[in-house]
């Protein structure tokens, strides 16, 4: 066993010991009524505030109890335990489809495709609505990833219109586009996907997917030289979408192929407003010069290419600085944290996303699934670190307060104060008893009854106060010991988290630096192209001058 593992086991043993003392269950059970507990657990799971419900999970009752317990286990990283509970849920009468879907996802994550297919089939058999759609989509994706396009198509055909079917057809279209020389099969699949996406009730999700679909259809149409069709598709892409810059470039390309250079340059000019990180933007800069050249304005063409050259050079400097910052501060700080910008107002957030170079590079980087996992790892560890820091601060406060309180309890008996309060209580009860005989109205009687009950409760609490107070220092002492144990566990966990973060951060840094190097290479290629164009232009102008001279 390695040192790190030994440490992990030791701290988990300590925590298990702390939990076995019954501190958790007692607190949660008393606070939340049993009837509300499943709802409280559901809300906590949905909103990601797990701490208050960990103790609640064992006390849950009702049909959803086991399913919620499994979700708590999954959210707290106990996958194997969650799997066993989910299998139990599937064998029961409630939440069967949800359990099967979760099990299928776990099987996919473990790379066990036959188990994934089995659980997806179970989920589609017993589920309905969105759950069934997700299960059938999972089956179609598994078949597609195994190269069985026909089988994937059959699954998709059995789905209801909506988001999941649309995504399925979009992925199928991507496969067809890779395999076929003629894109007609891919275009048909994309058209079906568009029809399905329109039926999605979630308008934002539907709009985003439709933008992707129009862009892909436009691209395929440009590739087969069907420019009218391409412009029809591309004009439907929203101007505030992630797909906008590429759509604008392709739109300009389709227009220029039809000889409409002026309109093409308008599209490219709009694409130029976006950061060079987005696909199509560097081509749009080049296109501007080409447009002027073809329209018969060689001087303007030269200026445009020189401007493109300057933009690419500037971008190389930006990328160089980004790489330097990644090496200095780490990729997570340089690319993810700094891209957030704490000063951004929420109403500016959307427009900022598409116009800031660093955010644009972050979005491009995150297009790779491996990159998402690498960023998520560091983010998760930072989140754990933040949680532990908060807990450590809380425990510091509790320990100080309890130490102070123990000192006070030791110095104070409070018996004189208690005797005085007891006297006062008795006097008040006598006074009430004297008034009781004179009361005639029911309203007065009820008020008096209320006061009597409150006095009785106070007398009971005063009576048991001495006994409770004597036990108090014992309780606080136990709590103080427990808090100190937790404090030590916090420090150990903090050390482990920061150790794992170093490894996670190194993986992310390597990925980001490789990505930045690829982007720099892309800029070098773009520079080569503009320089080539400028050289052609000067050569042409020189030949023209010679020709004019000979005339």
């Amino acid at each position: 066993m390695t040192g790190q593992k030994r440490q992990l086991y030791r701290s988990s043993w300590l925590l298990a010991l702390a939990m076995s003392q019954g501190m958790l269950a007692a607190s949660a059970d008393e606070l939340v009524p049993a009837e509300l507990a499943p709802g409280v657990a559901r809300y906590a799971l949905d909103t990601g505030h797990l701490a208050p419900v960990i103790a609640l999970a064992p006390t849950l009752t009702g049909d959803s109890a086991d399913y919620l317990r499994a979700r708590v286990l999954l959210s707290s990283g106990q996958t194997q335990e969650a799997k066993a509970v989910l299998e139990g849920v599937f064998a029961s009468n409630a939440h069967r489809a949800e359990a099967a879907l979760e099990l299928a996802r776990l099987a996919v994550a473990e790379g066990d495709s036959s188990a994934a297919v089995r659980w997806y089939q179970e989920a589609s058999r017993v589920g309905f609505g969105e759950i069934r759609q997700q299960a059938v989509f999972g089956l179609a994706e598994t078949a597609r990833s195994q190269g069985q396009a026909d089988s994937a198509g059959q699954y998709l055909a059995s789905m209801d219109d909506g988001y999941w079917a649309a995504v399925g057809y979009m992925n199928l279209a991507a496969d067809f586009a890779k395999q076929d020389l003629n894109p007609s099969r891919a275009l048909v699949a994309l058209r079906v996907a568009m029809a399905m996406a329109v039926k999605d009730q979630d308008r934002t999700r539907s709009r985003d997917l439709l933008d992707q679909l129009y862009l892909r259809a436009g691209f395929l149409s440009v590739r087969t030289e069907e420019y009218d069709k391409a412009t029809d598709f591309l004009e439907k892409v929203s101007l505030e979408s992630y797909a906008t810059p590429q759509a604008l470039y392709l739109h300009g390309l389709a227009l220029s192929e039809r000889g409409n250079y002026r309109a093409a340059m308008q599209s490219w000019h709009r694409a130029k407003k976006f950061p060079l990180a987005f696909p199509g933007v560097s081509d749009a800069w080049l296109g501007m010069g080409r447009g002027y050249d073809l329209a018969g304005y060689p001087g303007q063409a030269g200026e445009s290419w020189l401007a493109a050259n300057a933009a690419y050079e500037g971008e190389r400097v930006t990328l160089g600085k980004l790489a330097e910052r990644v090496r200095q501060d780490g990729a997570y700080k340089a690319l993810v944290e700094d891209a957030r910008g704490a000063d951004a107002q929420w109403f500016l957030a959307d427009s900022r996303t598409l116009t800031q170079p660093r955010l644009a590079y972050l979005l491009r980087f995150l297009e790779q699934p491996g990159a998402q996992a690498a960023v998520q790892r560091v983010a998760q560890l930072d989140d754990l670190s933040l949680t532990l820091e908060g807990r450590k601060h809380d425990l510091d406060v509790f320990i100080r307060a309890m130490e102070g309180h123990l000192g006070e309890v030791g110095n104070r008996s409070g018996s004189a104060e208690q005797a005085m309060l007891k006297d006062m209580n008795e006097q008040l009860r006598d006074s009430l008893a004297r008034i009781r005989d004179k009361v005639t109205l029911p309203d007065q009687s009820s008020k008096l009854g209320n006061l009597e009950r409150r006095l009785q409760a106070s007398a009971q609490r005063l009576g048991s106060l001495q006994q409770r107070a004597s036990g108090q220092s014992r309780v606080i002492d136990a709590q103080l010991r427990h808090a100190r144990q937790l404090h030590a566990a916090t420090r150990r966990l903090q050390a482990q988290v920061s150790q794992v973060r170093v490894s996670a951060s190194a993986i992310l840094d390597r990925k980001v630096l490789a990505f930045v190097a690829t982007e720099q290479q892309r800029m070098v290629h773009a520079l080569d192209k503009t320089e080539q164009q400028i050289a052609h232009l000067y050569e042409y102008l020189a030949l023209e001058n010679i020709e004019e001279g000979t005339r």
Partner: protein, 185 residues
């Protein structure tokens, strides 16, 4: 893909096939090592997440015991009765005219409440006796109206934990927000 300016100039092969083989196997080995490292890292992160979650729960329980002694504890829970009628924007809570809790709802929180989630809106301490709870609800009703309502409830606090459930409702045709209170024994 068709580009504006034709194909890129073809590059000459600068690496001999033998060296290329070495490079390819080196890159593959590096990729496999990275992937194995990432998998073991994921396992470590999962284990740490489980431990930190349990640890946070222990601290939370200790906090509850220390800050909210059972005898004086008051907890207020929020639920939705008619799940489609109201889009909740915010809830403010006042105990004896003192603001004690306010919450602005995100889309996720709203969706969770609509699917039967119960929010633990407030936990605090109160002395025994008669008290007043005021809830200010800001919401959008299903008929696209913005509504703000102040609702009051008087209750008696006795020794032991008091659990109050606030249920928000709005009924057709006017979708006027209404809150019912229930005390759990």
């Amino acid at each position: 893909m068709k580009t504006l300016f034709g194909k890129q100039k073809s590059q000459y092969c600068r690496i001999s096939p033998w060296n290329r083989g070495l490079w390819v196997s080196g890159i593959l080995a590096a990729l496999v090592t990275t992937s194995v490292a990432a998998t073991s890292l994921d396992e470590q992160i999962e284990r740490l997440t489980a431990e930190v979650t349990r640890h946070s729960a222990s601290v939370h329980a200790l906090e509850q015991q220390l800050l909210h002694p059972v005898n004086t504890r008051v907890a207020v829970f929020l639920t939705l009765q008619n799940r489609q009628a109201l889009d909740l924007d915010s809830v403010e809570l006042f105990l004896n005219d003192q603001p004690v809790a306010s919450h602005l709802y995100s889309a996720t929180e709203r969706a969770s409440l609509e699917q039967g989630g119960v929010q633990q809106l407030f936990i605090g301490n109160l002395a025994d006796g008669s008290h007043q709870l005021k809830a200010v609800v800001n919401a959008r009703s299903v008929n696209k109206r913005f509504v703000r309502r102040e609702l009051e409830h008087r209750f008696e606090k006795r020794s032991g934990t008091l659990r109050l459930q606030m249920t928000l409702d709005a009924r057709a045709p006017d979708y006027e927000p209404d809150v019912t209170f229930r005390e759990w024994k």
